[in-house]
Structures are given as C-alpha cells and as structure tokens.
Amino acid sequence: MLEVNDIVTAYGKIEALKGVDLAVSQGQVTCLLGPNGAGKTTLMMTIAGILRPKRGSIRFNGQDIAGKPARMIVEQGIVLVPENRLVFRDMTVEENLMAGAFSRSDGKTVQSDLEAMYERFPHLQERSTQYAGTLSGGEQQMLAISRALMARPRLLLMDEPSLGLAPLIVEDIFRIIRELNDEGMTVFVVEQNARMALQVADHFYLIEQGKVVFDGTPGEMEEDEVIKRAYLGKKI
C-alpha cells in the first residue's frame, strides 16, 4: 500500500534520513522502532507532506506522493496523528474534530462520523464543549486520534501515541489500534514501547541514525538477540 524508497530528508545540511526503504501492507499494523533521534518523526512528517524529502520516492497505491503538499496527502487518505498530539488548545473538542474533517465536503456523513467518534470515545462527548487545552494528556491523545479519523484515512500514521501516558491509557490506545485494524484500517505506528507493540503489530522496522537496520515479523524480532536486549529487556 505504501512504499518508501531511498528517502533522504535533511534539516539544512544535516541529513536526518539517509535513504530509508520500507513498505506498509494493506490491512496490517506496521510498527517503526528506533532510539531517540533516529529519524522516526522525520519520516512520519515526510510521508505526511510537512517535510519535503531531498531525494527518493513515496508510493501510495502506486502514486508517487513524495514532496506533495500535506493537503493533497490528506486527500489521498494518509493522515498522521503527530508526536505530542498537537491538539488545537484554544478550540473546543468538537471544533478539533470538525477541523479534522476539513478535507471532506459531505456534511451529513461528517455529522454521523462525529457521533460515531463520540461513541468510540465517550470521554470526548462529555467534554465536547470544553477547550482541548484543558483535557488530560490521555484525553488529548484520544482527541488527536479521533481528529485524524475524522478525515476518514485509509492509512493511519501514528507517532508515539503512548508517549508520556499512564500504563492504563497506553493499554487503551493499543486496544483502539487493534479495534481500528480489525475494522480494516491500515496502521503505521512509531512506538518506543516494543513490548506493547508486539501485541498488535504484524511487521516491524527498526531505524537507527536515519537508516532501516532491521525488518521482520514479530517472531523474527523476538529471535534477534540484539533487538531483544535493546528493546524488549531480558525476559520476554
């Protein structure tokens, strides 16, 4: 569904991605692991059209989308839940969700999606008229996820959705990822918590210093001694 080929993205002269190759298959949950500063966020931002790659191609269902503006990528069906959530703090929960549906023009289905979102996230319904900035971290993450879903993505990108959240909320988020996947959503998620990711992911990539250094199934990952030590701790 998504094929990333030899992507190079730089901040000024510093190349944060040095030729990344990976692929995301339709219907799967693909997980990207990597230490801090490896370039995970840079890759997500490049796919989402916020950063322009210097080189390489990104194919989505056969079309090259590398370097296209974010607006067109959303319209193609790729939506990113960004690192640190980035909710619109001075807008209400409902306005955040409506902003998520900006790329859509079908008013009726937007309204029914809004209701569906409230059903999935009852907390958000209770707080629909509250400013997003007043929500807890976990609620803000749920809001960021549902805001992305309001665009009706075909591929959902998530950048460290569990960052800084309590274990129970992290469980919640992974339950939602699984639910979405069961409903047919393709998910590409950046996650530091490999142990949690093992519960949902069909395929893993490991990125270090701007390059993919490992690629395999959960089984293969658990057999790899280096990864086991670095990402899963000793006992598994």
Partner: protein
C-alpha cells in the same frame, strides 16, 4: 469642562472608536494567523476608501454603495499586500516581511498623493444631518451612530465566520497550531490569503467610515491611523479580537476626551502616554493571556 462636555466627548469618542476597533481587529487577526505585523494594514484601509472615492468620481454612487465599494477595494488591496509582502518572501526572515510592509505603506501613500495631487478629497457622509437629542443637554450625531452600528454588524459577521464556518475553523487552526492544521488538510497559504482578504474588507469599511465621519479623505490619514491601530492592538493584546474591540472603543473615547479638554493638537500626546502606561503596567494588553503554542 463641565459634566455635559465630558459625557458628550466620551460618547462621541466611543462611537468613533468603533473604526479603531475594526482597524485593531485587522492588525490583530493578521498577527494571530501569521505571527507577523503588517504595517501596511491601515494604509490598506485608507486605500480601500480611496478606491471607492475614485469609483465615485467616475460614476456617482449612493453613499451606502460607497461603503461597499470601499470594503471590496480594501479586500483587493489587502490581497495585493499579501502577494507582495508575504507570499513570496521566505518566512525565515521576519525582518524582510516587516520592511516589506513598511515599503508598502509608503508606496500606497505615494500612489494616493500622486493621484490626488496631495489634496484632500471630499468623502460622502451618511446621516450627518441627523441628530438625536437626549434630554435637554445631550445628543448623538447620526453619522457616528451609523458607523458604530455598521462596525457592530461587521464585527458580528466576522465572529460568525470565525466561529461558525469551516473557513473560521481553518483560520483559528492555522493561528494556533500550523503543523496540525496542515495535517488536517488545511492549506496554510490559502488561509493566509483569505485572512488578508477578510481583514482587507474590514479595513476598507473602516476607511470609508473614517472618511465619512471626517468628511474628507487625505493622505495625511494613513500614518495616524497606522499608529492608532497599532496602539489598539497592543492595548487589546496581540492576537486578541475582543481585546481589539474594547481597546478601539477605549482609545476613541480617551482621545476625544483629551481633544475636548486640551485641544486637537495635544490629544495624540495623551494617547501615546496611554500606550506607555499599558506597556509598563499591562504589557500583555487588556486580556493578557499567554497563548501557549506547542
């Protein structure tokens, strides 16, 4: 100065202050969305009024239509300012856009001076023959009351757009969190452009109201209105629309009071002192809130 003069000067000032409120809203909205000051904004506003004056010299317009033409003129000039000073100048050099807008302010001024030989031009007033007496001593000028209500309507329409339409959601989203706005499929460029058009419409209307209540248009208006607009923006708090509205009325009332008390030549000195008082004691403006951006 007795009580009657006091109340009368403040009332007139409050009503006229509605024009400052509109100018302040324009400055503050552009700042809110782009995080940049557009120093050519008040010039845009006066230019809009001049557009309607120019159209009026070609074919006579009813006064109300003049206002509409001024708003449209302001919208067009606002968009041109966006193209020249913001769209193609890299965002990484904030000083470049600032200087660009100074250049634009002077350019607009020069064009006006050139086209009118620097002479003030008559501008049609509306309801200047109406006067409402209130009690024995007080009264309200019909033309001031008219521009006040016109500002109210314009502000209400603006707030409706900002809080009840998709365009408004996009505008506020870009102002608060530009990266997330793009991830929602909102185009920053289009939102910037529409902000310049909307504030231009508002500015053109304000320019017409200023022309109408003074009775003439003159190139000497641009600089004072620029300064008043900036003062209103600072007092209201950069980026705050309610702040701009209240500060506009406040500055209008304040300056008119001191004009009645000390005369027209001294009045602006006191307005400047008000600015310094605010910068010292309430630098964030009336509604000082630190809008956090992550």
């Amino acid at each position: 100065m007795d009580l009657v003069d006091f109340v009368q000067s403040i009332t007139d000032g409050l009503l006229f202050g509605a024009t400052y409120a509109l100018i302040g809203i324009g400055f503050t909205m552009i700042f809110g969305v782009m995080h940049k000051i557009n120093l050519a904004y008040a010039a845009t506003s006066i230019a809009g009024a001049y557009v309607s004056w120019a159209v009026g010299t070609l074919l006579p317009l009813p006064a109300l239509v003049t206002f509409v033409v001024a708003a449209i003129g302001g919208g067009i000039v606002g968009y041109l300012v966006y193209l020249c000073c913001f769209k193609f100048i890299p965002v990484t050099s904030p000083l470049a856009t600032l200087l660009g807008t100074v250049g634009m302010l002077i350019l607009i001024d020069e064009i006006i001076v050139h086209e009118t030989n620097g002479m003030p031009q008559p501008y049609p007033a509306l309801f200047d023959d109406v006067y409402f007496e209130i009690g024995e001593f007080y009264g309200i000028r019909g033309d001031l009351l008219f521009i006040f209500f016109l500002s109210l309507i314009a502000t209400a329409i603006l707030l409706y757009i900002l809080y009840r339409t998709k365009l408004g959601i996009a505008t506020r989203a870009v102002a608060q969190q530009p990266v997330a706005a793009q991830l929602c499929g909102i185009s920053i460029e289009r939102t910037n452009a529409s902000t310049f058009v909307i504030t231009g419409l508002l500015g053109g209307l304000a320019g017409a109201m200023i022309g109408a209540s003074v009775g003439v248009l003159s190139p000497l208006l641009t600089l004072p209105i620029t300064i008043k607009g900036l003062i209103v923006t600072v007092i209201g708090g950069l980026g705050s629309i309610p702040g701009a509205i209240i500060a506009g009325l406040l500055v209008g009332a304040f300056e008119n009071f001191f004009q009645a008390l000390r005369g027209v030549t001294e009045r602006d000195m006191y307005v400047m002192l008000l600015l310094f008082a605010f910068l010292t004691f309430r630098p964030g403006g009336i509604f000082s809130k630190t809008t956090s951006r992550d």
